[in-house]
Each structure stands twice: as C-alpha cells, then as structure tokens.
C-alpha cells in the first residue's frame, strides 16, 4: 500500500472541486436544506405536543446523522463516477495503482467532502435550531463512526455495481439510501416495524445507531452492546463490500470491461 497513490485520487478530487461550483454546491446545499426543513418541522411539532418534550434531538439529530451517512456514501460514489464520466478506467487501472489504494483514495476523498457537509449541518442545527450535541454526550462520536463506516461500505458496494453494469447503472445508486431508510428506523423505533421489516432492520448498522440515539434522549444512556453490534456490522459490511468490489473488478478484467467500459456489455 503506497499512500501517495491514494492521495493522487484525493488530489484529483480537490482539483475538480476547486474548478467546479457544480461539484461544491451539492456538498452543503442539500444537507443544509434538509436541516432547515426538518428544523422548522421539529419547531412546529414542539408547539403541539406536551410541554417538556423536544423533537429536536430525536428528529433533527436523526436527520443530521442520516444525511452524514448518505454524504459519506455519495462522497465515494461521486469520486468513482469521475472516472466513469471521463471514461478514465483504462488510464487509471493500467497504472501500478492497486485496488486497495484506489478504494482508499475514494474513502479519503469522501472524508473531506462529507466533513464539509457535517460542519454545515452542525452549524445550522445548533446555531439556528438549538440542537445541542451535549445532549448525546461522547456517544455521538460512536454514532458518527458507525454511520461513517456503513456509508463507506455502501459507497464501495455502489461503485462495484456501476463497474459491473456500466454507466447507466448510476441511476440504481442514488436511491439506495431512500431504499434503506424505512428499515433503518431513522425517525421511529424498530418496534414500530412489522416483524419481517425488523428482521432486515437489525442487520443494518444504522438501525442500531438510531435505536441508541433514541435511548440516549429517553434515558441519558445508550446500550454499549447495541453500539458494538452496529460497529461490528459496519465492519462486516466493509469487508463484504471490498470482497464484492474485488470480485467485480476481477470479472471486469477477465471479460475486458475495463478497456471497453462504455460498451455496457452486461445484459
């Protein structure tokens, strides 16, 4: 593993961000809009329920955490799509760059881009809507870590799908977070879900984070076993996503898809 090669991927992303408002604005615009929208919804809800209960930490906090995970995933897929959009696979994969170095570069790029989104969300949610992260305590770091790792796993998985199916498969990728959100229990406890959905939900690291977050708001403490399950699952998903990407890459090299990627020869 040569980190300088991974840093080349990061540098490329920085060059592209620097030169293109179309790439910079989405880093903070959508998450900013989400926080403003849900901030006002929580403010309104606080006026119609029993005094003393605040929706801010449960709903606005959940929106912030969920959006952070989505930004991590999209940070990876967008950096990967740069090679799709510029038909650059042949140039990139004919170099000494290994798959681990390439993926590491995508993840590092995502750390930077998702951090920008997170900072904007924190500023808006605390500054405008009074969300206090002291309410969660240090466990907030664990929540963010699990969601960050799960976002990485989703990003690598999504990149592998596009590598296999071709550029048009990009449209399978954008809805993945929306597809997962009902199962992740972002806004409601998992007990709300029917049994079959709960079965899927407990296999998602994100659902353990949101259960933990609600436990902190309700009782002041999250179950460490719950968080460890989330962490373990997130690490497992990263390992599975890496395996999947390597497998898809091997198939692409065997079938000549790297050199003729735009042919979309998978039917």
């Amino acid at each position: 593993m040569r980190w300088k090669r991974a840093l080349a991927i990061v540098l490329r992303q920085m060059y592209l961000l620097r030169a293109s408002p179309a790439r910079v604005v989405p880093l903070f615009a959508w998450v900013g809009i989400d926080i403003v929208l849900w901030g006002f919804i929580t403010k309104y809800l606080n006026t119609i329920v029993t005094r003393g209960f605040s929706f801010v930490p449960t709903i606005l906090g959940a929106v912030l955490l969920w959006d952070f995970m989505v930004r991590v995933m999209q940070g990876i897929t967008t950096a990967f799509f740069e090679d799709v959009w510029t038909r650059n696979f042949l140039n990139v994969f004919a170099t000494p760059l290994s798959i681990t170095e390439y993926i590491s570069g995508l993840v590092l790029s995502s750390v930077i881009t998702s951090s920008i989104g997170l900072i904007i969300m924190l500023l808006l949610s605390t500054g405008v809507f009074g969300l206090s992260f002291f309410a969660y305590g240090i466990v907030m770091g664990a929540f963010l870590l699990v969601l960050f790792l799960f976002g990485i796993a989703l990003g690598i998985f999504a990149a592998a799908v596009v590598l296999r199916l071709g550029p048009a498969a990009e449209w399978f990728i954008w809805p993945i977070p929306a597809l997962l959100s009902p199962f992740a229990g972002v806004f409601y406890p998992l007990s709300t879900l029917p049994a079959w959905m709960r079965g899927i939900a407990i296999s998602l690291p994100a659902s353990h984070v949101f259960e933990g977050m609600r436990a902190v708001v309700a009782s002041g403490a999250a179950s460490s076993a719950e968080l460890l399950r989330g962490l373990g699952l997130a690490l497992l998903y990263i390992a599975l996503a890496m395996w999947f990407f390597v497998k898809i890459y091997s198939i692409a090299v065997r079938d000549g898809l790297i050199a003729r990627y735009s042919a979309e020869s998978v039917t």
Binding site: R2, K4, R5, L7, A8, L11, R12, Y15, L16, A19, S20, E82, T86, N88, F89, L90, N91, V92, F93, A94, T95, P96, L97, S98, S250, V253, R254, D255, G256, I258, A259
Partner: protein, 257 residues
C-alpha cells in the same frame, strides 16, 4: 535489428517477454498463443488488420485484460503475480484513451505522476511540457485541446515515469505529418538514449518502416511474420511494407505457403 541484451550471467534480459499468450472469449480466439520479446533499446512494431488482436495483446500487457493462458514478464517481473511492480516500469499512450478533459494538462500530469511515484515530479512535468511543446497549454483543460494536442499530452503522460516498456497504440493517428515526424524522432531518441524498449502499433507503414527495428505481423490472433520492416517486403516478393500488410490481411495463406 537489435538483438536482445544479455546479462552478465549470459541470460537474456528482455524488457518484455510474452510466452504463449492466449485470450479466448468463449469459442472466439482473440489472441491465439503468441510469443515474442522486446529487447532494451528496441522498437517493435505490432502490425495487423483491425481485429487481429493488437489492442487485446496490449491490454493484457497493461493488466487490464486477463489472459486465458500464457505469461507476460516486464523486466522479468510476472504481471499476473506482481502487477504493481511490473506496471511501475510501464506506461502507455493510445488514441482511444484520452486523459480526463476536466483536468488541466498540468493537473493530469501531476495526478498520474503521483501514481507512478515520479520524483522530482514538478521538474519532470516542466521538462515534459517543454519536450512536447505543451507549456502554453499547461493550465488549459485537456478537453478543450485539439485532438493533436491531446495526443501530445497522452504521450507526455506516457513518458512521465521514464518507462522501461513503452506501449504505444497508434500514437500518431491524430497528428499532422510534421508533428508526427517530430514525435517519432522523440520516441526513437528516447529509446536509443535510455535502456527501455517500445511496443508500437500503427497502420501507417511509412511510420513503421521509419521507426521500428523489428515488426510482428498479427492476423487472426497469431503472429504470421516477424522481421526487419526494411527487408521483409523483398523477402516475400512485395514492393513495400504496405503491400505486404495488405497481403497478410487479405490472403494470409499465400504468405504462409
């Protein structure tokens, strides 16, 4: 024709050794068990009609296409076992692989220079911008350059790491004759001054005769002929390399006989 260089212990030290290389897609044979070498300072032309297996061969050497059988060694390093180490010694330029158009010339060279571990990178980039007459385009996005200028950027990228094995797939296809001649001279000088070798595909037989020390005629995935491009036509009763090429492409059996 230059002969393969020899190590002190007498063993041949080729820049590229390809042995029984084969690529099949189901029942279709794209490359059918070819073997060849490229020696240090040697420029080898890989010729053949469209679909003969030239680009497939180059893609296998570059590690972006897995061979069905056979081995590829770059300076003795097996590409299937030590891919990164082998590819550190290689680079390529191909007419069908332009560099990303949304990065400037300098940004593209820096990106690939970091991947190839080029040191000192800024000096090397400045040197290549000068060599390939790209200084005035250094901060221009590649996508707005003319096809000839983009080809020069690709060639500059291909020379970044001073590769021991340079793979060129129709490198001068979009260049005007004057620029093409200049580029040919640069690559020839670079091969003569350094210790690396070049594998070159082209459909321009004048260019091949001018540049290559040895040519391999590929047809239907097999090497049909091999030899000095200046002598081969007369050896097979043809007036020019182009005439020989056309015969190999259309009636390979007459050559075999």
């Amino acid at each position: 024709m230059r002969l393969p260089a020899h190590c002190d212990d007498g063993e041949v030290s080729n820049v590229l050794s390809v042995v029984n290389l084969e690529k099949r897609y189901g029942d279709t044979v794209a490359v059918g068990g070819i073997s060849f070498e490229v020696a240090p300072k040697e420029i080898v032309g890989l010729l053949g009609p469209n679909g003969a297996g030239k680009t497939t061969t180059i893609n296998m050497i570059l590690g972006v296409l897995q061979p069905t059988a056979g081995t590829i060694q770059i300076e003795g390093i097996d590409t299937s076992r030590q891919r990164s180490q082998a590819l550190e010694r290689t680079n390529f330029a191909a007419v069908y692989a332009p560099l990303p158009g949304n990065l400037t010339v300098r940004q593209n060279l820096r990106f690939f220079g970091m991947i190839y571990g080029v040191k000192p990178l800024s000096e090397r980039i400045a040197d290549l911008l000068e060599q390939f007459d790209l200084r005035r385009f250094a901060d221009t996005k590649c996508g707005v350059l003319s096809s000839g200028e983009q080809t020069r950027v690709c060639l500059a990228k291909a020379m970044l790491n001073r590769p021991q094995l340079l793979l060129l797939d129709e490198p001068t296809a979009s260049l005007d004759p004057a620029t093409a001649r200049e580029i040919r001279a640069k690559i020839r000088d670079s091969a003569q001054d350094g210790t690396g070798g070049v594998l070159w595909t082209s459909h321009n037989m004048y260019e091949v005769e001018d540049v290559c020390d040895r040519v391999l005629f590929l047809s239907h995935g097999k090497i049909f002929l091999e030899g000095d491009p200046k002598r081969l036509p007369s050896e097979y009763g043809k007036s020019s390399l182009e005439e020989l090429f056309i015969t190999v492409a259309r009636e390979p059996l007459t050559i075999q006989d």
